[in-house]
């Protein structure tokens, strides 16, 4: 067919122009859900570049791996003939449990919070996108609430996933799975409860610190710095060989120790065995720090607005 024989074009492109949206408007409910899900995705780097994914997973993966290692150790001792179930006649070896697992992973989760927390709140202020949120059907409470809940969910997942891995790993590793589950089911509310308290406290603290600057890296360094300084402060004070109860009181400034030992030992019922202080004191201290962080965040954003 030559060009002369080509059929005449009959198609026409119509511009349908601007179409008004007549569909459903879900208002504040949709806005809140979007903010929450967007924060979770941002925190884990989902839908973002490689580097944004790399950092949170770099920190989070070892925590889950630790749960696997604990489960593998338990299963190994079971395979070579040791009884790993404390309630079934006692352990021949002192295997690490959920309490020890919490102690190992706490620092890693704090580092995870130091990377993810600033990511959720700093760029909005740095890029001034925050003004666009507040003219939409959400309040400052919704905004901060969604960001807070997102970090809380991520930290809760980071705290309990290793425990779940460990618990389920042992379930499959030991010979009597049903018996093991019956004997150790109480560990689940313990590590979940501890995870919730840890996530609430760490989320509030991280968001409060991140609210002070719009630069992510500076916020991350401040969070890590606060953790380190609190640890060193306790170490320095301990050099003075103070009375046991005073040392325990001063130990409460150590954020790692609160998360890794003090609170878990309360949840796992071992606090009174090794401490002179009333266990309500650390609980009140953590509650005070959490409330203080929330008030500081709110007041900072109120002033910014």
């Amino acid at each position: 067919m030559t060009t002369d024989q080509q059929p005449e074009r009959t198609g026409t492109v119509f511009d349908i122009g601007y179409q008004s949206y007549a569909g459903e408007r879900e208002g504040r409910r949709r806005a809140w859900k979007t903010m929450l899900w967007d924060s979770v995705k941002n925190g884990m780097g989902i839908g973002r570049g490689g580097w944004a994914k790399f950092l949170p997973w770099l920190v989070l993966s070892p925590t889950i791996a630790t749960g696997l290692v604990f489960a593998a150790i338990g299963a190994f001792f079971e395979q070579i003939g040791f009884d790993v179930d404390e309630t079934e006649g006692g352990l021949p070896v002192d295997l690490p449990g959920h309490l020890e697992l919490t102690a190992v992973i706490s620092f890693m989760i704090l580092i995870f919070a130091a990377f993810v927390g600033p990511e959720l709140v700093c760029p909005d202020r740095r890029n001034r996108v925050i003004h666009l949120y507040f003219v939409r059907p959400i309040t400052m409470f919704d905004y901060l609430g969604a960001r807070w809940c997102a970090l809380f969910l991520l930290l809760l997942a980071a705290s309990i996933l290793p425990h779940i891995t460990y618990w389920i790993g042992l379930l499959f590793g030991v010979g009597d799975s049903l018996g093991h589950a019956q004997d150790n089911w109480l560990d689940i509310p313990r590590f979940v409860g501890n995870g919730i308290v840890f996530a609430v406290f760490t989320t509030s603290l991280t968001i409060a610190i991140s609210s002070m600057t719009d630069r992510r890296m500076i916020a991350t360094l401040i969070v890590i710095g606060v953790i380190m300084i609190s640890t060193f402060a306790e170490l320095i004070v301990n050099l003075f060989e103070l009375q046991e109860s005073i040392s325990e009181l001063i130990a409460l400034v150590n954020l790692i120790d609160i998360n890794a030992n003090v609170m878990p030992s309360i949840f796992f019922g071992t606090y009174n065995e090794s401490n002179d202080l009333n266990m309500f004191l650390p609980i009140a201290w953590v509650a005070l720090l959490t409330a203080g962080s929330i008030v500081a965040t709110w007041s900072f954003y109120s002033r910014q607005r």
Binding site: G17, R30, A31, G47, H131, F134, V135, R136, P137
Partner: protein, 303 residues
């Protein structure tokens, strides 16, 4: 939320007063904004931005009230029908325009199933369809202004508030932006409040203006009546203006010199003849002669 009908103003300020410490940003300002394009005009510090911030619910008035479509500024339903384009940068550089607009549509209450299509449509209307998957950080100033406008439009609002939308644009970009704003009002049926200190932008674009100065409303009217023709005849000459003025004086014609032109009040048939003779006698080359149209800048001068 109050039902927005044809009789309900889109925005209504009643004795709106705002104090920042000892500084009075708004002083009992009362005005209404109806459909079409309304210019919120005034010099720096006139209270334009404060008024916008109050209508957007970003700050509270010290006294008086502000209503959006008949509802309180914090009413969630009213805010789902409001769009805002700030003057300052407000875009995440690492996100694509398509993703950013989709997110903003959802935050405005649009279900996810529809928000992506709305985002693509809006980007098509502002001329960024082909570029929609590129990170915003790589956009030019003009493109960023369009993304800012698009995020204000993406949820199909009833009214959008634009704060200095032509800031930082070159003449071509400025013309395109003003054309786009006109299209939004005329074709999309979305009312616009254009806050600016550029009177030409208002003259070229707006149907109505609210002129603010030192927090008070100095004028609130439609642009047409403010720029209507006057009784003055404006004669612009290329040369010999002073000689021309002298010839007018000799012929007892009252006049005032303005730059390269002369304006003459109350011209009738006889005066036109005398004016023609004065032009011939002065050998001034006529560039333009016609009824004088008031410019909005006169409003600033008179205030």
């Amino acid at each position: 939320m109050a039902v927005s009908n044809s009789s309900t103003p889109l925005l209504e300020a009643r004795n709106l007063t705002k104090l920042y410490g000892n500084v009075q940003a708004l002083d009992a300002a009362s005005f209404t904004v109806g459909p079409g394009i309304t210019g919120l005009l005034g010099p720096n510090g006139a209270g334009k931005s404060t008024a916008i911030r109050i209508f957007l619910g970003l700050t509270d008035a010290t006294s008086g009230s502000a209503l959006v479509m008949g509802a309180d500024t914090r009413d969630f339903e009213a805010r789902t029908r409001l769009g805002y384009m700030p003057e300052h940068d407000c875009l995440p550089p690492n996100q694509s325009a398509a993703n950013f607009l989709t997110h903003m549509a959802e935050v405005s209450g649009i279900p996810p199933s529809r928000s992506r299509a709305l985002a693509a449509d809006t980007l098509r209307h502002v001329g960024l369809f082909e570029e929609r998957y590129r990170p915003i950080g790589g956009y030019s100033t003009g493109m960023k202004q369009r993304v800012k406008l698009a995020q204000a439009l993406v949820h199909d609002p009833v009214l959008i508030l634009l704060d200095e939308p032509t800031a930082g644009l070159d003449p071509t970009g400025r013309t395109e932006m003003l054309n786009l704003i006109r299209r939004i009002a005329r074709e999309f049926g979305i009312s616009v409040v254009l806050s600016t200190h550029l009177m030409q932008d208002v003259e070229r674009t707006c149907d109505n203006i609210v002129l603010l100065d030192l927090g008070r409303v100095k004028e609130s009217s439609d642009v047409k009546s403010l720029t209507e023709e006057t009784e003055l005849i404006y004669v612009e000459v290329a040369n010999n203006r002073d000689r021309f003025a002298a010839e007018l004086t000799d012929r007892n014609i009252e006049h005032a010199s303005e730059g390269i032109a002369v304006s003459i009040p109350d011209v009738d048939g006889a005066k036109y003849d005398a004016l023609r003779d004065a032009l011939v006698a002065s050998e001034a080359r006529l560039v333009r002669m016609g009824p004088r149209q008031r410019a909005l800048i006169d409003l600033f001068r008179s205030n």
